[in-house]
Structures are given as C-alpha cells and as structure tokens.
C-alpha cells in the first residue's frame, strides 16, 4: 500500500496519521483536555503546532486558544505528547503508546511527583476527589476482599473501620496544581509541581472588567477576581504555569509569566536544551547545563580519586 497521510478533525479530536504498509503512526489531540496553553507550540522542534487565538464574542466569556498541527511539518516525534501538562496529545506507533524519543533518552519525561498515603484517609472523606479541578481523582472504598463499597453511610462503625480507602489519580493527565494536597484534611497527599515559575498580573494595565485570563484558566483558584479592585489576581500556590492565560491576555505586559525550572527525568539532549530555552529562558537553560557539567565533573573527579584511593589501599 502506498503511504497514506491523513488529517481528520472532529468536534472532539484532531487526528494526524501516517499509515504505511507495515507501520502506523498516529497523533490524536483530545480537544476536551486541551486548554490552549502554549507548551506544545513552544516545544515542537519542527514548529508544526500553531496556536489559533479565538475571537472573543461580545458578552461571552473568553475562549481558550485552539491548536492546529501542520501535517507537512509533523514528524510524529511525540515531544508534544511528553510535555503536555494536561495529557491532551497522544502519539502512538502501531497503536502502542511507546515514544521513541523517551525510550532512546532523546527527551526527558516530566516528573509527576504525586504521593498518596491512603492509610491516612478517613473512610468517608472524598475531599480530594471533589477538589480536583480536572476531575482526575477517584476515591473508592474496598472491603478486605477487594470489593468496592458504594454506600458507606449504611455500614456500622465496625464495618467501616475494616474498609480500605483507595485513591486513584489519572497521573497522565494531571498538571500537578496541588489543590488536592491543600484540600486534604489529613495530609495524605503530597504533590510537587513539574513547572516552577513566577506569574504576575499588573492590574494597572488590565482593561476594566477584563477577565479573559480567568475565563480560560483550567485550574480553579489559581486566578481569582478580587472584590477590592474588580481585577484578576493570582494565587501562585495553585498555578501550573501552563500559560493559557498569557495566550489570551489582550494587553501587552499586563500578565507576565516565567518558568524558572522544570522537574524532569535526567537526560543529555540537544533538543531538550532548546526546548528548555523556549519554555523557560536561555538563562535557565545555561543554569541547567552548568549544573549538569559540574555534576559530571564531580563524578569524574570522584571516579579518579576513588581509583587513586584504591591504589593506596593496595599499597
């Protein structure tokens, strides 16, 4: 079969495909999960992803930007998949979600550091499930033999005490905002962000009544409308630094967003350095490079000294 190249768009998905006689490459964008942040379009090494800002309709809330992928430029490397904070893009080869860039260590993975100690969970607590802005947490209660108990209220206290709590988080789609951690009454969840940074809104520059950034922010509570000045303010504790707000902000410099570090698996790769430069800043990139090289230097010195020590010991 000759190479078939397909690009299909539906209300829910955008699909790109290379269908070869022996192999099938597929990229699927889940439009429901996409929040119109800038990460993929910044990171794409082939500059194939374009953000399309949506025209604001009078009297309606602002819509987040939509992404479009240029078929001719896409090489199905999957870097967008790896980096999407919301797991909205999925690249598969022959239906399997195995990314060669990760496997060959050409690109790091984001570290979604989420620890749940469900032994601390009270049997009737579902705070985290209710708090998750993206509805990614499922709390269930299991009997000793692993059966799910739906109706906890009907049980006796003794029966309740024998139940186990299970907290399931769909990690792949989690941007690690940490709301669940804050809302947990028992300190059972610990979440580290993978993007660190700084976000500032200069309220003096905000047009009156503009809430565009708030309208598109995927994390409830990261931005809020202040009663004092009627302007949008930031709660940095919950911000995931995705940048969806910056994309729609109508005024230059009213909203400043800077990513200062990214929590990722270790990797030595040119494309990662470039991505880092684009996602964060050249300064951050050099910092990371320096850290790497000094670590490398340290390792090599240790190795040498260790070898010398070995000689001494022999003597």
């Amino acid at each position: 079969m000759p190479l078939k190249t397909l690009k299909e768009e539906t209300a829910e998905t955008l699909t790109l495909e290379w269908r070869l006689h022996v192999k099938d490459y597929k990229l699927v964008l889940d439009k429901k999960r996409c929040v119109g942040c800038e990460i993929c379009s910044l990171a794409c090494p082939k500059e194939a992803i374009k953000l399309e800002r949506q025209e604001k309709k009078a009297g309606e809330k602002a819509e987040h930007a939509k992404i479009d992928i240029e078929f001719e430029k896409c090489n199905f490397c999957g870097i967008c998949d790896v980096l999407c904070p919301f797991g909205a893009i999925r690249v598969t080869v022959n239906g399997e979600h195995l990314l060669s860039v990760v496997e060959k260590e050409s690109f790091p993975q984001l570290i979604r550091d989420i620890k749940v100690d469900s032994t601390k969970c009270p049997v009737d607590c579902k705070e985290c499930e209710e708090a998750c802005p993206l509805d990614l947490i499922r709390v269930s209660r299991l009997t000793v033999d692993g059966k799910i108990v739906e109706n906890v209220e009907s049980l006796t206290e003794e029966e309740k005490s024998r139940l186990k709590v299970k907290v399931e988080i769909e990690k792949d789609f989690c941007p690690c905002c940490g709301i669940c951690e804050v809302k947990c009454p028992e300190d059972a969840i610990q979440v580290s962000k993978f993007f660190y940074g700084k976000i500032t809104i200069h309220q003096d520059k905000c047009p009156d009544g503009c809430t565009d950034c708030l309208d598109v922010c995927p994390i409830t509570g990261a931005l809020y409308l202040s009663d004092d000045d009627g302007k949008v303010h930031v709660n940095e504790a919950f911000c995931v630094y995705c940048g969806a707000c910056k994309v729609v902000c109508p005024v230059d410099e009213a909203l400043e967003l800077e990513r200062t570090s990214i929590n990722h698996t270790p990797v030595r790769s040119g494309v990662w350095n470039k991505t880092l430069e684009k996602l964060a800043s050249p300064i951050i990139m050099t910092k990371e490079l320096k850290a790497k090289s000094s670590q490398k230097a340290r390792e090599s010195v240790e190795k040498r000294l260790g070898w010398k020590v070995g000689i001494h010991e022999q003597e």
Partner: protein, 820 residues
C-alpha cells in the same frame, strides 16, 4: 591533402566551375517513384554541370567509387548527390569526395528520397518535378560553395556520467577500465538505481542486489572513478571535448571522509520517517542510509525530520563525522564527454479511479510488491496485505497500467510482462498451492533470450492468464478483498474474479526532472518525454549534441541486460571522443567582415547580445570578434546583424538566396518555400518521409542549422519572387532549440515581420511559423497538407494579384540592402 587545398584555393571566383551530379536509385526507394532518366537529363541542363551519373546505391562502395572516379576523370570541383537526407549520409559522401582530393565542403546533397519519393508515391510526376527543383537548388548552392578547413580543439579525457543506476555503473566501469577518469554524479544518496530495489531478476531468478552489489562496490573502489552522490547538476557549458560542469553537493550533515558507515548513530536515533527507497512501505531513521548496501556508505541526516537531540553526535564520538553546520558546496568539473543515464520513474496511478490505487489498501504497484517479497524489505520478505497483515491466498496481476494506453502513455513499458511473470513464479514457488495467481494482460511480450522459456515456466506452475483489459476494481468493504471486472477476450465474455491482493504493473515514465536536464544539456525529448537519440537506428546511443551519449532507460524503458549493454555501448561511444587528443569541429561558424561591422564607428553589439553562447566579443571601436571554438554555428547573429556584416560559413546569404531563386524559378505560385532547422523541423520532415506519410508535393525545403539563421530578407525575397507561401520550421519553445534560444530569436524577428507583410496586402495564411520536433513527422505532413489546402482555397489568381502589389515594395526594400 595538399592537392585538395590547392584545388580549394584555385576555385575562388575566377576558376571554372565543374559540377558533377550523382543521382541515386536507392534500389527502388527512389527509382520506384521518380523518373531517374528524366532527372539525369534535367541535371545535364543545369549551369556548370559537366557530368551526371545515376547509381543503384550511391552510398555503397561501387557508388562511392563512381563519385571518386567522376571527380578524377572529369576534373570535377563540386559534387552534388541527389539521394537520401543529408542527416543520413552527408558525412559519408564528404569523406568520399575528400578521398578523391576534393575539399569536403565542396559537396552538397539533394534530399530526393525523404522529401520526394517516400512522401509522394501516388503522384510520381509531381514528385519528379519536386526532385528536379531539389536538385536545381542543390546545384545552385554548390556553385557558391567554398572550401573550408575543419578546426581542432583539445579534448579533456575525463567523462561525466549522470545517474548511477546499472546502465551508468556499466558505462563507468568500462570507461574506467579503459583508463579514463570518470565522475559519477548521483542525485540520490546511493548509486544502484532501480535495480538495487528489486528482489530477483528475470529470467534466471538470481538475486538482484547480489549481482549488482559487487558492481556498486567496484565503482566505489575504482581509482579512476569518483562518485559525487546526493548532488545536483546545475549547469553545463562548452562543447564536445571541453564541457564545463557545475555541480551542487547537498549537505548530508555527515562528513564523508570521517563516516565509517558503522551505523551506531542510526541505532540511537529516535526519529523515523517513511523510506522513499522502500516505496514508503517501511521507515528509516532521521540519520540513516536508504539501504544497507548503499555506495557510498555514508550516512545522512534528514533535517526535515531531525529534532536535533544530538544523540548521534554522542554515538559517533571521536570519529566526529557529524557536522550540523555543513553547507551546500558547489564544484566545477571539466570533462570531454557526458553520458546521461538518469533512468526512469514508476507511474503511480492515483489519477485513475479504475484501479483504486491509494484508495484500496490491498492494491499495490509491482515495485511495491518487489519491496514486499524482498527478504531485506520492510516485511522481511513476507507478502502481506496492508489491511490485515495476512498473506493473500489469491493475487491478481494487472498488466499495462498506464502503458499502451492512448489516453495516458501510448508506448509499451518493455519489462512489465517479464517482471510480472517473475512475480508469479516467485509466489508459486514460495507458497505453492496456497496461492492462486491471475494475470490480466493484453499481449505477453517475452521476446528475448530465455524469456519465452520463462513464460512457459510460469504457465506450468499453474498461473491463470486472462487476456483482456480490466474495466473496474471494487473493494469488498468487509474483507477488503478486491473484485476485478474484466472482459476475457478469448472467451468473449465479461468475467469477475475476487482476489485478496491486486498488483498493478504500472508504466515506466520519464524521470522527474528530465525537462530540466534536457534544458541544461541542450538535448531534446521525444513525444513520450524520454530523451531523443540522434538517429533511432544508426545512432541510438548518441544525443544530437556532440559528446553527449545515452545509456539505459532515460532514452526509453529497458530491462537490465539491455541497459547494461547500452551502458557499455555509451562507454565505447564516449571513448571515441576521449581517446583523441583533439576533436574536429565543423567549420560552419560565423565570420565577421571587419569592413562592414558598424561597431567600428558606432556602438552596436547586437550580435553579441543575440548570440546564445556568448561567443562574440565586443570591444568599443573595434569590429565584433567571434570566438571560433565557442561558436556553435547556429547563424542567429548572421540574421540579426543590421549591417549584414556576418557570414555563416557553408550557409552564406548568397548560397541561401541562390537556393530560394532556384526553387522559385518556375511556377512560384504553386510552391511553398520552407526554411527548416536541421535538428527539429528538418528531422521531422525526414521522419514524415521515413514513415511514408503522404502530403502534397508543394513544399521546397531549405535546410538551415537553426531557425535563428532565417533572415527576414529570405522571406522578402521569396515573396518578391512570387512564392505562394513561406514557412519557417523551428524546434519547440521554450527549450527544444539545439542552440539554446535561436527559435526565440526567430520568433521575435518573424512576429515583427508578419504584420508588416499583412499590411502590404499579404494574406496571413501565406506566411507561417511552425514548431515541429524531430519526432513529429505526422505534424509536418499535416502542416504541409493544411497549408496547401489553405493556399488552394485562396486561389492562384488572388496570390498573383497580391504578388503584383507586393513586388515593387519588396524590390525597393531589397535593392536598398543590395540584395538584388
């Protein structure tokens, strides 16, 4: 030689002219139509003709001996042979006369075979009259011929081979073994061509890469061969023996000298993309070679897909072969001969909805099948369906997809019958009774050594052969099987067959970029788009441009043995140039008369502007200078010169005017005078003759090297003498001209002249410009027929009346230019 030079000097103005005319019967080719005796008697009446002789075959030894004898016995100093086309035998007879001590340029030919007996067989009387005119024109020109000395230019004994397929490889190895330096230019990453893509070869079923691989390695290792791969040809200038070639080497981002071909970079590369070399059935890495046996074995980074992770740089390590900063590099070569062996492409029938190619997953082309059945291919040699990955239990092969189709490619693609038989045999031998095969064919062509026996083998293995064209293929939406509807012409009824896979034997088509290459090399393409040889039978390897030769399928579809033989043939043809220290150049160049050149007094330089080769140098206050070795002898400058200060040797104004006058001496109102360029329209007219296409005997052709030579004065003189019509025949625009752009110069000149003539009362149908290629014999015949009919419709009386009005005006114009 001394004698001839002496004789040449003697026959300046004062010498008494003694012309001999030799009329050829060409067996019955000429004598069967024309009245030879009448021609002989007529020739005797022509001025300065002292001896006339007819021969059965003038080109044969006894005929040539007659000429030599005639020159000696009758002291002839001009020779006219009335026979076939000068494109055929002019060189033969030039040699004959020079053997008898006459300067070869004191010879002229009258083309009474292609231009008369072959194209007017049903009107022998008129054909004879036309032949008389042709002889009269030749004699008129002969009276004004001057002896010329051929020039010699040094030859660079290196060759360029464009295209490293099996034909180019054969040519390269042969030339290199003869001791010549060979540059092999390959546009893709590796040499090998289509043959390296194939699994087995017919009729012996030996593995293709196993027999070609060692040859490729030989090319790579030969001290006389330098491969320049992944590079493009930018320009070629110069002439036979002295070509200057510019090439751009595209960046591989891998340093050729440092790359060891180990492939460690490929193993770490994370990026894959469809491998074109695998017909996009499989993938290759962003840093890779197209196939393992590639020569040169140098990796390449495809920056369209590379994400620049630099894993390859790490893997390459101390070898430091990877260089992301590499830039394209331009190099210049000097060679004496060029062999074009660019091969062919395979037609992909996306545009034909009949076969469902590109739409139905289990319809593939034969070349795709080849990659499937190849053990080193993307499926590891398993023939599997794209729809479900299963082995098909029935395969239908469809022949002549695109080929032998008047709506698409009218020609036969030569090797499809044989490779389909091979596929059938391979399938049958591999899967035995598990697979049923059907072949839908128009005719099975198996006419070379061992081929018919191979056909027999396929039949014995139980393949089903169905003679008939396929009318439509449908896909079963559930099973993805294919339903083929066809007519079985042997049963005489429609049939329907279900197959699990369909393989299309698609046409071989001219390589992409052939038009560009034709332009760069100044060579022509036939109507099918393949390169046009100088003569289909006697010069099947030579391009019309000296020093350029063809090998392999670029000139027309060829199988492997044929391509290999032609590669060797091209090598030996190229060696005829390369082995000589110097090459003789025809002295039909332009010469400037310093007395007449206007540039001495005023600023002119028109000739230099119009010269397609930049062969004319203009220095202020000095007459224009023609650089002889660069002049190709098109004569464009001669026609353009406002002072008539330039003369083209052997095609002088006086000679051509004499031909015009001779042609129109009697009954001009019945005749069309035609100026035909040597390479295209004259050759097209020859082809009309060789194809025995009959057209009215009204035309009187004059050969010029290029249509750019046709001076407006020639047209004016023809109408002054009362010609019914004038036609200028040229090579096709934009690029077919053998002198780069002579046809464009002619077009501009004649398009300015036509309105003036119309204003003076000339009916538009009497003056015509036609672009006729060497392959368009049919068009030539049609044009003459059409023009004759138009002139007939116009009426002799009308023509005469127009002429009466035109004549005094034209006379004035020509008198002012001292032409009459």
């Amino acid at each position: 030689m001394n004698k001839s030079e002496k004789r040449g000097e003697q026959n300046q103005e004062s010498e008494e002219l003694r012309i001999g005319v030799f009329i050829c019967h060409c067996g019955l080719n000429i004598a069967g139509v024309l009245d030879i005796q009448e021609l002989v008697e007529f020739a005797k009446t022509l001025p300065d003709v002292v001896y006339v002789k007819d021969n059965r075959y003038t080109c044969a030894d006894p005929g040539q001996e007659e000429i030599r004898k005639g020159i000696k016995e009758h002291n002839l100093n001009r020779v006219v042979v009335a026979a076939c086309s000068p494109r055929m035998h002019e060189p033969t007879f030039r040699r004959t006369v020079s053997e008898a001590g006459l300067n070869p340029y004191l010879f002229e030919m009258a083309n009474i075979r292609e231009f008369s007996s072959w194209c007017h067989p049903s009107t022998p009387k008129e054909a004879t009259e036309k032949a008389k005119d042709l002889i009269k024109m030749a004699v008129a020109k002969a009276r004004l011929l001057r002896p010329l000395q051929t020039m010699e230019v040094p030859v660079i004994n290196k060759a360029l081979i464009i295209g490293g397929g099996i034909a180019g490889i054969s040519a390269a190895l042969d030339l290199a073994e003869m001791g010549f330096k060979v540059y092999m230019l390959e546009n893709s990453e590796s040499i090998g061509g289509h043959m390296a893509q194939l699994d087995k070869t017919f009729p012996t079923l030996d593995c293709s890469i196993c027999i070609e691989g060692p040859k490729m390695v030989d090319v790579g290792r030969h001290p006389n061969i330098e491969i320049i791969s992944y590079a493009d040809l930018l320009s070629v200038s110069g002439y036979v023996g002295n070509f200057k070639v510019k090439i751009r080497k595209n960046p591989r981002y891998v340093i050729e000298e440092n790359c060891t071909g180990c492939g460690e970079c490929r193993d770490v590369c994370p990026i894959e993309y469809p491998n074109e070399w695998d017909m996009n059935l499989g993938v290759r890495k962003a840093i890779s070679v197209p196939f393992d046996q590639a020569v040169p074995l140098v990796y390449r980074i495809n920056r369209d897909y590379c994400i620049e992770c630099y894993k390859c740089v790490d893997a390459c390590g101390a070898r430091q072969a990877i260089d992301f900063e590499q830039q394209p590099e331009e190099i210049e070569l000097e060679v004496g001969a060029i062999i074009v062996s660019t091969g062919y492409d395979i037609y992909l029938p996306y545009d034909n909805p009949l076969y469902g190619y590109g739409k139905f997953a289990n319809v593939i082309t034969s070349l795709e099948f080849e990659r499937l059945i190849l053990a080193a291919g993307p499926t590891g040699g398993k023939v599997i369906r794209a729809s479900d990955g299963k082995k098909p239990r029935s395969v239908a092969f469809i022949q002549c997809v695109g080929s032998r189709d008047t709506g698409k490619f009218p020609y036969c693609s030569n090797f499809c019958c044989m490779y389909t038989l091979k596929h059938v045999v391979q399938l049958k031998e591999k899967y035995k009774e598990d697979v049923e095969t059907y072949v839908f064919y128009m005719d099975m062509r198996s006419n070379f050594k061992g081929y018919e026996e191979f056909y027999q083998r396929a039949r014995e293995l139980g393949a089903n052969f169905i003679r008939g064209r396929v009318s439509r293929i449908f896909e079963d939406p559930k099973t993805k099987n294919l339903i083929i509807r066809a007519e079985d012409t042997q049963l005489g009824k429609p049939i329907e067959i279900e197959a699990e896979m369909v393989v299309l034997a698609t046409a071989a088509i001219p390589k992409k970029g052939s038009d560009e290459l034709a332009r760069i090399l100044n060579i022509t393409r036939g109507s099918n788009g393949f390169f046009m040889e100088s003569h289909p039978k006697l010069k099947p390897i030579d391009a019309p441009t000296d020093g350029i030769f063809f090998a392999g399928a670029c000139q027309g579809p060829k199988d492997i043995p044929y391509s290999v033989s032609q590669g060797s043939g091209a090598a030996s043809r190229a060696a005829t140039v390369l082995s000589k220290p110097t090459w003789k150049i025809e002295p039909i160049i332009a010469v400037v008369d310093p007395e007449k050149c206007r540039n001495v007094k005023t600023k002119c330089g028109i000739c230099a502007q119009k010269c397609p080769y930049g062969a004319i140098k203009i220095v202020e206050k000095q007459p224009a200078q023609v650089i002889a070795a660069m002049c190709h002898g098109c004569g464009t400058c001669v026609a353009e010169c406002p002072a008539d200060a330039i003369t083209q040797m052997h095609f002088t104004d006086a000679q051509i005017l004499a031909q015009i006058r001779a042609a129109l001496e009697t009954n001009p109102e019945d005749k069309i005078l035609a100026f035909l360029c040597n390479w295209c329209s004259y050759a097209g007219a020859d082809l009309a003759g060789t194809s025995r296409l009959e057209y009215p005997p009204t035309i009187r052709p004059i050969r010029v090297m290029c249509s750019g030579r046709v001076d407006r004065d020639f047209v004016l003189e023809a109408f002054r003498l009362g010609a019914a019509g004038v036609m200028v025949g040229a090579c096709h625009l934009p690029y077919d001209c053998h002198y780069i752009s002579g046809n464009w110069k002619m077009k501009a000149r004649m398009e300015a002249l036509a309105p003036m003539l119309h204003k003076l009362g000339l009916s538009p149908e009497r003056f015509r410009i036609e672009y006729i290629s060497a392959a368009e014999g049919v068009k030539f015949a049609q044009v003459v027929t059409e023009m004759t009919e138009q002139l007939k419709a116009l009426g002799k009386e009308k023509i005469k009346a127009e002429n009466k009005k035109l004549k005094p005006v034209l006379e004035n114009m020509l008198k002012r230019k001292k032409i009459i």
